[in-house]
């Protein structure tokens, strides 16, 4: 009687290359097709200076990106933004991605997803829609208590189901909604979601500006996890729930994007190729533009994409750390934001000499709201504010 096979015997998940193996293909292409968006989320990870970005790529530019990426081995394609539905050539792009053999994902708030557009997207071969809800903190209380916005989400969810797509919902969780987690899960159940991702906000871009408003307390997190587990036990397979904890509460960092230039390739609305959504903040790196360099050359040859591959760039404590293959020292952007140097260990790691910066933020998060001294107000994402923040007025 032989040993029974296990799932790992027959499969492996999307293969990261390690520093020992050569670079693998850019399996995951994220096409951020516009920064335009009807919402004003306070946790948005679009760059704070998005309003200053150069002209958007044309339809033909994007078609070339899709073809080149597919030829380089990309398999998953996400259409995102901003709000991707703002672009009226979305169906053309989805159709081409589908024709090329990509698995296509639309990451959307659902605003603009009419029955007509759902039909054209289905005809174009779209495989999956990830619907976000509880989008904007401006509408926080409204959303949970008023029927108007909920009715809209209910309609959008019905459209998605009617076209046979799996109902995958994403809700960014933060201090201002984490105490309503039961209602959020109840809504997902009512809308017939098959997957629910409760993604605790990460603190980049607009979310970083609003970090003190957004970081939950330990008690809030523990309560939310308990409730999530209760629902999991009750709901079983009818709804798969993912709960992502903010990494500020960990002592080891995440293996961000599975490693710099390892699996993910993002193309911004103006055509910059980045290894992640926020890498443009690293001002000492020149990221290539897809108008000027092919996807293959960008991925394999560019200085930008090679910059943090392998381990040679690492400083201590990462350089000699036994966990270096596990997490690659965490997130370059977070190291840059919190320590001033992208080559440092991500300060989430408790081996980082800058870890105290994370602890300070976490300590502040334990203070109940009614005991906090006045902090800066919430900053809502919009173009005007983006311009203001990009051009500080000198006194």
């Amino acid at each position: 009687m032989g040993q029974a096979m296990s799932a790992s015997d027959v499969s492996s998940s999307a293969l990261p290359a390690t520093s020992v193996n050569p670079i693998g293909p850019p399996f995951w292409l994220l096409a951020e097709i516009t920064y335009k968006c009807p919402l004003h989320c306070v946790f948005c990870y679009n760059p704070v200076d998005f309003a200053q970005a150069g002209p958007e790529l044309s339809t033909d530019d994007w078609l070339l990106v899709l073809r080149e990426a597919r030829a380089a081995g990309s398999v998953q394609c996400g259409f995102s933004g901003g709000e991707p539905l703002v672009r009226d050539d979305l169906e053309v792009l989805v159709a081409e991605a589908h024709r090329l053999g990509f698995y296509t994902n639309l990451l959307t708030s659902g605003v603009g997803l009419t029955e007509a557009r759902a039909a054209t997207l289905e005809a174009a071969g779209l495989d999956h829609i990830q619907l976000s809800f509880q989008d904007s903190t401006k509408e926080l209380n409204d959303f949970l208590t008023h029927t108007k916005t909920f009715d809209l989400k209910r309609k959008t969810a019905a459209i998605i189901k009617a076209h046979g797509w799996p109902m995958v919902m994403n809700c960014v969780i933060h201090r201002l909604n984490i105490d309503y987690i039961e209602q959020i899960i109840d809504l997902a159940v009512e809308l017939g979601a098959e997957y629910l991702e409760l993604a605790n906000s990460q603190y980049y871009s607009w979310a970083q500006l609003n970090r003190d408003h957004l970081l939950p307390s330990r008690e809030q997190l523990e309560r939310a996890e308990r409730i999530t587990n209760d629902y999991r036990a009750r709901l079983g397979d009818t709804l798969k729930i993912f709960f992502v904890v903010p990494d500020y509460y960990e002592t080891r960092p995440k293996k961000c994007m599975n490693g710099w230039g390892n699996v993910f390739l993002t193309v911004t609305p103006e055509g910059l190729a980045l290894p992640c959504h926020t890498a443009k903040m690293l001002k000492d790196i020149t990221f290539p533009n897809v108008r000027e360099m092919s996807i293959y050359d960008i991925w394999y040859q560019s200085d930008a994409f090679n910059r943090y591959r392998g381990n040679a760039w690492m400083k201590e404590p990462c350089r000699t750390c036994p966990d270096q293959e596990k997490d690659h020292g965490g997130c370059r952007c977070q190291a840059h934001m919190l320590s001033g140097d992208a080559a440092n260990a991500d300060p989430v790691c408790d081996k980082s000499p800058e870890h105290h910066r994370v602890l300070t933020a976490v300590a502040y998060a334990q203070i109940p709201d009614d005991q906090r001294t006045m902090i800066k107000p919430l900053v809502f994402r919009d173009a005007m504010r983006s311009h203001q923040l990009s051009n500080p007025v000198l006194k």
């Binding site: 032989g2 029974a4 296990s6 799932a7 492996s12 995958v168």
Partner: protein
């Protein structure tokens, strides 16, 4: 993923397995392998797993599937391997029986 040790319920050889709705199977030239795609994710299948998955059309029952594989690969006694795989695939949610 740990190996299964508990004896699983025997698979009815008359059932016609099919891939679960959310999954897409395709051959990837660049990776030289079959992959299973689902929302935002990918599972790379080894050679035999790919050969089994690609034959799941929802019309062929398990007995016929085993016979076809034995014929195509001129290899007898594939029953245990195929059934083991189907159990895993079912457990992972890739396959419905």
């Amino acid at each position: 993923m740990s190996t299964t040790s508990a004896p699983a319920a025997p698979i009815d050889l008359q059932l016609c397995p099919r891939m679960a709705k959310m999954f897409k199977l395709q051959w990837e030239d660049v990776q030289q392998s079959w992959v299973l795609l689902y929302p935002e994710g990918m599972v790379k299948l080894n050679g035999s797993a790919g050969e089994i998955m690609k034959r799941l059309d929802g019309q062929t029952n398990v007995a016929a599937l085993i016979a076809a594989l034995e014929h195509d690969f001129a290899t007898p006694d594939l029953s245990a391997d195929v059934l083991d795989f189907l159990r895993i695939a079912q457990g992972q949610g890739w396959v419905k029986l």
